[in-house]
Each structure stands twice: as structure tokens, then as C-alpha cells.
Amino acid sequence: MTPIDALAAALALAGAGLALTATLGLHRLPDLYARMHAATKPTTLGLALLLGAAALRVEGPADRTKLLLAIALQLVTAPTAAHLLSRAAHRRREPQSPRTVLDEIATDPPTSKGMEPT
């Protein structure tokens, strides 16, 4: 067992743990927006760790580049997709948890003074 292999195994385990955390959040959090928070952040980092572990283990620069490209792509697309989905859900007036503190893009009724309706 080389140190690289040990590092790859540790990265894979950490990534799998983050994936489990994301699923736990999907089940436990109160409303859609909180679940979206749980679903995007841990899966992005967890997936980056898992793909990094794979990049340490594969042979040849071609496959390694593909895996690193997949990490970069995931880092760019995951926030974009979550943003699109949350704006669409908010426009559809998806119910919010009663413990929501601030809704910055709310139109009616205005939750804070001086905020332009969007």
C-alpha cells in the first residue's frame, strides 16, 4: 500500500461521509430551500473528494484530466442549477418553514422596509 493509495482511500471515505450527510439533510430539514442547501453543498464537496480519489488512482494523464474536468464542471454547474431551481420554486410560492428569518426576494407582503420588490 503506497501513501497515494492510502490518501485516495481516505478521500473516498470522506466523500462518502459527505454524501451521507447530504441525504440526511434531505430527510430532516423543514422546507424546500433548506433541503436545497443540504443537497447542493455536501454533494459538491463530497463528489469533488470522490473524484479526486479516483484521479489519484487511475493511470495515465488522459483519464486523470477527465476526472479533474468533472470536478471543475461540478463546481460550476451545481450552484447554477440550485440557483435556477430555487428561483423557480420561489416564483411558484413554494411554502417556507415558519422559522424562516429573512426572505430577501419576497414581493408580498414586504418583509423588510426599503427593499425594492423584484
Binding site: M1, D5, A6, A8, A9, A10, A12, L13, G15, A16, G17, A19, L20, A22, T23, L24, L26, H27, L32, R35, M36, A39, T40, T43, T44, G46, L47, L50, L51, A53, A54, L56, R57, V58, E59, G60, A62, D63, R64, K66, L67, L69, A70, L73, Q74, T77, A78, T80, A81, A82, L84, L85, R87, A88, A89, R91, R92, E94
Partner: protein
């Protein structure tokens, strides 16, 4: 040792995928299901990454890259569909 760690990572990702599938069955509205599907695609990519790490096989890398793009397009399409049906 490394094998044990990799196998336990695979089991954890599989358990997460099963729990996400349960959330997908339970949630009845479309945005929640879109989120659960997004997570499920991410977990499948993670499983492919563990497969690549376990076998040192480069073919998993192609699949992971394709699924990354496909998952984003799917979520963006659902978001557009939700936005079009607001009124």
C-alpha cells in the same frame, strides 16, 4: 486496508443512494423531486468515482464526465419548466 476503506465508502454511497430514492418516493411536489434527482445523479457519479478508484479503470472517467453534464441539463430543464407554469 485500502480495500476495506474503499468498500466501506462504496457501501456508504449505496446507502445514501437508497435513502435518496426513499426521499424521491416520499416527496410529492416537483421541486423536491428535482432536488432528490439531482442528489441521486451526484451519488451515481460518486459511485462511478469509487469504481474508478477501486479498479484503476479509465472508462469510469468518461461516464462520470457525461453524467455531470447530463445532470446539470436535467435540473436546468426542470427549473425552466417550473418557471413557465407560474401563473
Amino acid at each position: 486496508m485500502t480495500t476495506v476503506l474503499t468498500i466501506s465508502a462504496a457501501i456508504m454511497v449505496a446507502a445514501a443512494a437508497l435513502a435518496t430514492a426513499a426521499a424521491l418516493r416520499r416527496d410529492r411536489n416537483l421541486p423536491d423531486r428535482a432536488i432528490a434527482l439531482d442528489v441521486l445523479v451526484s451519488l451515481i457519479i460518486g459511485g462511478l468515482a469509487i469504481g474508478a478508484a477501486a479498479s484503476s479503470d479509465g472508462r469510469f472517467a468518461d461516464l462520470a464526465l457525461i453524467l455531470c453534464v447530463l445532470g446539470f441539463i436535467a435540473t436546468a430543464t426542470v427549473a425552466r419548466y417550473l418557471g413557465d407554469h407560474q401563473q
